[in-house]
């Protein structure tokens, strides 16, 4: 462990930025994010498509290197910086210490290799074990992730598995070397709701049984609510709010988080509350809006917000950070109104934001 990492911290990402040069300009996919993950903890990273959450995850294990990305910052793991690690060092971390599962289990397994042989391969890169021992372990793993009849399944091809089973097989593969961290990139998005719940329950069970940490990347706050103990909300390549899961759901501070919360149905809140989508589209990561990147879609924006770039600051509870230009009292009043079922316009009045403010406008390209 590095002396710079607090005890119990497994991974700390510091000021990570990832940029891709393209013919249209530089894509600022990830723009200075920092977070840390405790051993055995679960971090949820939430954001819309194009918020940079997947790129941030791929960068952890160096998978954006091959795409010509410019990466700065630090990714401290096991006392060393993964960003400066050599190709070979990084390769030994991948799939061994840090494993990853992906959004689409249908296309993430190689269609022309047997499921068992893909698992065996994953083990034998990192461990000097015999084929037959690896095979026995593969069968065990399939059993562990709840695939019925694993002895037969181990010799089947991915197309003989259902979507949920393929994701289970992916998870089995990720677990094969007992990783310290499992990065799950939208693991349930491509699955039916019932299967989603099963996969989440499985991940939760595996986390507590095997003591690994999980980074759960999703656009769905409902998913992280079930599994994460800490949540970071990303917008346009930045973390705009981070907090304990409970705190984030009870006292969210960022208008974007409010938008995410109000766009998911809740069984517990007042009934008859309409789901409100966030207007507009995620901004271009090549030409980002000035000032607060969220201001063009924000119902509470003031003209000055187009000029000032809000830093991530303390938001009144341990570990709770927010990057918003509204003051604490305004945010509290607005959220109270929203939580009671009020529309954003009412919340705006409740927060005492003067009416000469800018109207939310669509982001241009």
């Amino acid at each position: 462990m590095s002396s710079e990492q607090p005890a119990g911290t497994l991974l700390s990402v510091e000021n990570l930025s990832v940029q891709f040069p393209t013919p249209d300009g530089i894509v600022h996919a990830v723009d200075g994010i920092s977070y840390s993950l405790d051993a055995g903890g679960t971090l949820g990273i939430v954001g819309e498509s194009g918020s940079g959450k997947t790129v941030a995850a791929l960068t952890l294990i160096g998978l954006t290197r091959t795409q010509g990305a410019t990466v700065t910052g630090r990714i401290m793991f096991n006392g060393r910086d993964l960003l400066t690690a050599s190709k070979t060092e990084l390769r030994h971390v991948r799939g061994d210490d840090i494993a990853m599962i992906f959004q689409d289990p249908l296309s993430s397994l190689h269609p022309q290799f047997r499921v068992g042989s893909q698992l065996i391969e994953a083990m034998r890169i990192h461990r000097p074990i015999t084929k037959s021992a690896a095979r026995a372990r593969a069968t065990e793993l399939l059993d562990l992730v709840g695939i019925p009849d694993p002895k037969r399944r181990v010799d089947q091809y991915p197309h003989e598995f259902s979507g949920g089973m393929r994701q289970r097989a992916m998870i089995a593969m990720a677990l094969s070397n007992e990783p310290k961290i499992l990065v799950a990139d939208e693991p349930t998005t491509a699955l039916d709701v019932t299967v989603q719940a099963q996969i989440l329950a499985l991940l939760e069970r595996l986390r507590s049984e095997l003591g690994m940490a999980i980074i759960m990347i999703t656009h769905d706050l409902g998913v992280v609510a079930q599994i994460a103990d800490h949540i970071a909300v990303m917008y346009a390549g930045r973390i705009v709010e981070a907090a304990d899961a409970r705190r984030l759901f009870s006292a969210p501070q960022h208008p974007y988080t409010w938008g995410l919360l109000r766009s998911i149905p809740s069984l517990e809140g007042p009934r008859g509350v309409e789901l409100v989508p966030i207007p507009g589209r995620p901004p271009s990561l090549i030409r980002r809006p000035s000032g607060c990147h969220f201001h063009p879609r924000c119902a509470y924006a003031l003209p000055s917000h187009a000029a000032i770039d809000p830093p991530l600051v303390d938001a009144g509870a341990p570990g709770h950070m927010v990057a918003c230009l509204l003051d604490a009292a305004q945010r509290e009043a607005a959220w109270a109104e929203l939580r009671a079922g009020g529309a954003p316009e009412q919340a705006r009045i409740a927060a005492g934001i003067e009416d000469d403010a800018v109207e939310p406008t669509e982001v241009a390209g």
Binding site: S108, F113, Y157
Partner: protein
């Protein structure tokens, strides 16, 4: 699987009969000299010509002639008699087959072992100088006609007319069993010329299909597992990219076996292609028909083999 193969074979036979019919019809309707006159030689008397017509069965109706031709092929492997050589066509083709086979198989090995690695390297080093250079050269070879390349090769490297006397030149072919070393030497230039174009095509094909495959999610999975990049490309990438290659390779080899006309002509290799081109010169209809039918048989068989190979290459493909 077995029922699929049987069904494909039956379709193949039907297709073959159709090909035979069409070639038969085309050459029957072609405004050519009466085969009997060709056969009879100079200044033959009308009675001799009439006798030959009777011998060849040319006095029957076209339907009967076709029937005789078809049953001859199907039941006796008899492709008729050459008007010009006065020999059975089947035997003539069989005699020429080893030369064409030598040329095709050797060239195919060469273009596979050269073209595929170039394609792989080009895909990995995409947009680098190496990629652009090899794809640029490939474009030149794809566009260059084989007869032109062949002549250039001869003028440059043949030991008779060449600028540098390196390889055996045109007309030096001998059978493998006669003199293996000379056989090999005589085929070096033809192999190089025939495979140059194919190399280029295969390099581009491999590059394209590998680039497409390398964007797949399961390649990302392979990398996330911690596999070395070499394994990712050669095992996971090529496993998927090899499919289209097999298709093209099967059909290419089949069509060359039907006669590599240009290469065989430039290098005077006594193969099926030469037989064909000479037959056209002589108006030797039965040989032309015979070689076309043989070529069709090769293509049909290659198609079936390629489809069967697919079932082994891709577990998702199942033939009911």
């Amino acid at each position: 699987m077995t029922s699929y193969i049987v069904r494909r074979l039956l379709w193949g036979v039907l297709l073959l009969i159709m090909v035979i019919f069409v070639t038969f019809l085309v050459y029957f309707l072609l405004p050519s000299t009466d085969p009997a006159i060709l056969r009879a030689g100079r200044d033959a008397s009308p009675s001799v010509i009439a006798a030959i017509r009777r011998d060849l069965g040319l006095n029957h109706s076209i339907i009967v002639q076709f029937w005789n031709y078809l049953t001859g092929i199907v039941f006796h492997l008899n492709f008729g008699y050459s008007y010009y050589y006065n020999d059975p066509v089947g035997g003539l083709i069989l005699n020429r087959l080893p030369a064409t086979l030598s040329l095709t198989v050797g060239a195919a090995i060469l273009w596979v072992i050269v073209g595929i690695p170039i394609g792989i390297i080009s895909a990995i080093k995409r947009r680098t100088f190496l990629d652009r250079a090899s794809m640029g050269i490939a474009l030149v070879f794809v566009s260059a006609p084989v007869f032109w390349l062949g002549l250039i090769a001869l003028f440059l490297l043949a030991n008779d007319i060449g600028r540098f006397h390196v390889f055996l030149g045109s007309g030096s072919y001998v059978g493998l069993t006669t003199n293996p070393w000379r056989w090999f030497q005589s085929l070096i230039l033809p192999w190089m010329v025939l495979s140059a174009t194919q190399c280029a095509i295969y390099a581009r094909l491999v590059r394209g299909s590998l680039l497409q495959v390398m964007g797949e999610d399961y390649i990302r999975t392979a990398r996330a597992k911690g596999l070395p990049e070499r394994t990712v490309i050669l095992k996971h990438g090529m496993r998927s990219a090899v499919g289209p290659l097999v298709t093209v390779l099967g059909l290419d080899i089949a069509s060359l076996l039907g006669g590599a006309i240009l290469t065989e002509t430039v290098f005077s290799i006594p193969g099926i292609g030469r037989l064909q081109i000479d037959a056209i010169g002589h108006g030797d209809l039965t040989i032309i028909q015979g070689t076309v039918v043989i070529a069709a048989i090769f293509i049909i068989i290659a198609n079936i083999l390629v489809d069967i190979a697919y079932a082994f290459l891709d577990p998702r493909v199942r033939y009911e």
